[in-house]
């Protein structure tokens, strides 16, 4: 039902405001089970390039599961089974010949809890380029600087690149993780509640950063925080019990939700 | 089953033998307790054979325990009063006697059998099978054939191979070592780089394994492994003589390399523990039979009998 609603709305939306950007991810009838738990049910979603797509919904609705499906990280759990398709740039990511490593190089991910490697700041950022065969010290240095600048943390760490990343504050660590992502020049960045472990000031910094990054990257962000979704995203998908209830331009969804359940959630009546 | 009955038959033989020698003594007395023996590894096969016979056929209640730390190491224990009998492949030393005296231990040294110092080589070695006495001893003496002790066979005789000789022998724990160095080499230094081992079994393996080996040890260890080892016949002036039970016997042709092996009895132990005395006597009752079996030449019967009498007199 939610999906049919969406399909009806789509053309309207396109006319509405956003110019129709090319699609990065096209999810078709995606179902996912953890053993017997049916965590994602018939998901259909198209995600556009160079925009911020927010995914909201109450705890346990399948947000993390969905976003982790997009880079097949969800497969680290051997119990997981999927049906349906997810097309990234026109290629089904579940294709036998599609190496996860290749997909993940194109699609970066930032996690809820900052997870830098227990290495120096420099080595954290250089890790990605290095595994892709870039050995030249000079080039690595340039990449590291560019990525750290890109993640708006360069000024804070430029004098301590060789110190251990664990010495940074939580917010700095999270931006470092974003920089680590940027270093391999991905196409898409997935973010799973990237600010939920951070204090308000750091949260603001990350939000600004996301706004900035969308010029060059497609960003999909899971968030618990409705205000955040409203502030930074272009489109928002509302998940409930493993289904997409509504998928809409952010300003529309927050001002004038189509579905009663979306409204109830947005107005804080549950979740 | 077959073999064990054979062994049983053997045992019966010995028993009747023992009975003959023992005539007149009371056989019925049931003894108990234990007899501790350590010392020479050379003598070990003979003494452990005797001990087994004794425990199986004579006195089931007595436990005779035989170790083989080597003559010198065993003698140390003996001096400490830890053992009742101490086997030796050489005569007891002055210092050792002194130590015994200090500890108030009275002892008596008995010959048990005769052993031939056997010079062994690899079974495939077909050149060094006959050597003169001097060649043998010179080979083992440091600096005789080569200054750096890297002796080649061809250093001994020109027509022998140009390959390096590898030396083996028991280590300094052993009376065999001491007899060899002190008596046969006249206290001159052994060649450098000689491989000295604690265990005779290891030694046998090493020699049987190395084409250029030459080593020395008791005849028993050779004869038990004559399929794996070659032996050097030594020319003492009257042509080459191979060691054998006959040639190493008293006045045999191998006599220059023959030595008696001993056991030292603690007189105090024999006085205090009847089982020690009984076993000591038993040794000489069966020594002539079991000696050959384990690779020793027996002593003359009169000599053995005189020992029995000697022990009998200990009160």
């Amino acid at each position: 039902m939610a999906q049919s609603l969406l399909k009806k709305k789509k053309p309207v939306m396109a006319e509405n405001k956003t110019e129709a950007k090319p699609t990065v991810y096209d999810t078709k009838k995606l179902n996912l089970w953890y053993g017997k738990t049916h965590a994602l049910k018939d998901i259909d979603l198209e995600i556009q390039e160079r925009s911020v797509t927010a995914i909201i919904g109450p705890s346990g609705c399948g947000k993390s599961t969905y976003i982790k499906t997009l880079n097949r990280m969800v497969e680290m759990n051997p119990e997981v089974r999927t049906t349906g398709e997810v097309q990234y740039r026109g290629r089904n990511i579940f294709d036998r010949n599609y190496y996860v490593e290749e997909l993940r190089t194109r699609v970066g991910m930032v996690f809820q809890k900052p997870n830098p490697f227990p290495k120096s700041i420099f080595d954290n950022v250089a890790y990605g380029p290095k595994i892709h065969g870039i050995r030249d010290k000079k080039i690595l240095k340039q990449i590291v600087e560019k990525s750290l600048r890109g993640a708006a943390i360069w000024d804070e760490v430029k004098d301590r690149l060789n110190e251990n990343a664990y010495g940074l504050s939580g917010g700095q660590q999270q931006r470092l993780c974003i920089a680590r992502c940027l270093a391999v020049e991905p196409d898409v960045i997935l973010m799973d509640e990237p600010t939920s472990a951070l204090d308000p000031k750091s949260t603001l910094k990350v939000e600004e950063l996301v706004q900035d990054l969308k010029k060059n990257y497609s960003i999909i962000i899971v968030t618990h925080n409705m205000q955040q979704a409203a502030r930074i995203s272009d489109k928002t998908a509302f998940f409930l019990n493993g289904e997409v209830v509504e998928y809409e331009d952010t300003n529309l969804i927050f001002s004038n939700p189509n579905d009663k359940r979306t409204e109830d959630y947005i107005t804080g009546r549950f979740g | 089953g077959n073999e064990s009955s054979e062994a049983g038959g053997n045992n019966n033989d010995n028993e009747s033998n023992g009975g003959n020698n023992n005539a007149g003594n009371s056989e019925t007395e049931e003894l108990s307790g234990s007899v501790q023996i350590d010392g020479s590894g050379t003598v070990y096969p003979l003494l452990s054979r005797i001990a087994e016979e004794y425990m199986v056929n004579e006195q089931q209640g007595v436990s005779v325990e035989v170790s083989r730390a080597g003559t010198s190491a065993g003698m140390q224990r003996f001096i400490n009063g830890e053992t009742d009998l101490s086997n030796a492949s050489r005569t007891i030393k002055e210092e050792e006697l002194q130590g015994l005296e200090e500890n108030g231990i009275e002892t008596q040294e008995f010959k048990v059998a005769l052993d031939g110092m056997t010079i062994v080589i690899h079974p495939d070695n077909d050149w060094a099978t006959e050597m003169t006495e001097e060649e043998v001893t010179d080979l083992f003496i440091s600096g005789k054939y080569a200054d750096d002790d890297n002796v080649l066979w061809s250093d001994v005789r020109d027509d022998w191979p140009d390959e390096e000789v590898n030396f083996y022998g028991p280590n300094e724990n052993h009376g065999t070592y001491e007899f060899f160095v002190e008596v046969l080499l006249d206290e001159q230094d052994l060649v450098d780089g000689i491989n000295l081992q604690q265990d005779y079994s290891t030694l046998v393996e090493l020699v049987s394994d190395d084409e250029n080996s030459i080593g020395f040890f008791g005849f028993g260890y050779y004869i038990n492994n004559d399929d794996k080892l070659g032996v050097v016949s030594v020319d003492f002036g009257d042509g080459p003589v191979a060691p054998s039970l006959d040639t190493i016997a008293e006045d045999g042709d191998y006599a220059p390399f023959t030595r008696p092996v001993f056991t030292n009895l603690s007189i105090d132990a024999a006085k205090e523990k009847p089982e020690v005395k009984d076993f000591a006597k038993y040794i000489f009752e069966v020594a002539d039979d079991l000696a050959g079996e384990t690779g020793f030449a027996p002593l003359p019967e009169e000599e053995l009998n005189s020992y029995i009498e000697e022990i009998d007199e200990i009160e």
Binding site: T105, H132 | Q76, V181
Partner: protein, 310 residues
């Protein structure tokens, strides 16, 4: 109920009569006595070793013991006491053992912690650990009667007793120590860090060797050090399979004697007290004790370090 009036009283009288209170006070003391046995054991080891070691060094100089190269303890004319041949053999056999145990143990650990599914790990890990439960005498038999003859098919120069074969077998014995402890250290690296690397497109191999192993390195080193300590202290395998030739060489095909095997040789059949050779036993044992103790303390320090990180 007839008794009911007096349960309270019964308890009260029992309390007054009970000798429990006195007994209770004794208990911590009795238990403390039991606990002090382990301290006494260490003390006992130290005192016995130290006492005779001092006597040894009254006869033999440190110089001779640590700097000369010949060990001929019972030589009647010119006894020599240098630990170097024994030390050399010990280090050589330990080196060979670690040469086997480190690559095999570490890759086994990587497989168990990074590649294997939970189910496979639960079966495979205990199976690998079985290797650690086999008595060393059995390994000794195996080295002597199987591995040495087997190796000699390929290395004809190999002596019947040599340091190579027991070294290899010791390595096999140590595999589970390295594998199990390294696996523990690697498992304690949080999954979020692995996910971080995977999300960058790293293969499992790259995750294991460039993230997990560096992160768990102190625990892994601890496992190596414990393995080394085990190898240094291992006795029966070398006693049986490497003979008792005290020579200082790096030729692994030769028979040589480790510190532990020397102790066995001098004690086996129980050497009598009083000679320098007998005291040398304790000097060697002291060296062995100090070596292994230092290694164990170092390993424990390293283990603590990796526990503290996460």
């Amino acid at each position: 109920m007839s008794y009911s009036a007096n349960v309270k009283d019964m308890i009260e009288t029992n309390r007054k009569n009970s000798k429990l209170a006195k007994f209770e006070k004794m208990i911590p003391f009795l238990l403390f006595l039991a606990a002090s046995i382990s301290v006494l054991t260490t003390l006992g080891i130290l005192v016995t070793l130290l006492f005779e070691t001092v006597l040894f060094f009254q006869n033999v100089s440190f110089r001779e013991f640590f700097l000369q190269s010949e060990m001929r303890p019972l030589n009647p004319t010119n006894p020599q006491f240098s630990i170097l041949p024994l030390l050399g053999a010990t280090l050589l056999s330990t080196g060979i053992a670690m040469f086997v145990a480190v690559p095999v143990g570490l890759t086994t650990a990587v497989y168990l912690s990074e590649y294997a599914t939970d189910k496979v790990r639960r079966i495979l890990k205990p199976l690998v650990e079985v290797l650690a439960g086999i008595p060393t005498i059995v390994y000794g038999f195996f080295a002597f009667t199987f591995v040495t003859p087997f190796l000699r098919e390929f290395i004809p120069a190999l002596d019947r007793t040599n340091i190579l074969s027991p070294g290899i077998v010791m390595g096999i014995m140590i595999i589970p120590i390295v594998a199990s402890l390294s696996e523990d250290a690697m498992s304690s690296v949080p999954n979020s860090i692995r996910e971080g690397a995977m999300a960058l497109g790293a293969t499992k191999f790259e995750v294991a060797f460039r993230v997990v192993i560096p992160a768990a390195i102190s625990g892994i080193i601890a496992s190596f050090v414990l393995g080394i300590s085990r190898a240094i202290g291992e006795t029966m395998i070398v006693t049986i399979a490497s003979g008792s030739n005290k020579n200082l060489t790096f030729d692994v095909t030769q028979s040589m004697q480790t510190m532990t095997a020397y102790i066995v040789e001098v004690t086996s059949g129980d050497a009598g007290a009083g000679t320098t050779a007998y005291y040398s036993l304790y000097a060697v044992a002291m060296t062995l004790f100090v070596f292994t103790l230092a290694m164990n303390m170092f390993a424990r320090y390293m283990t603590k370090r990796f526990r503290e990180v996460y």
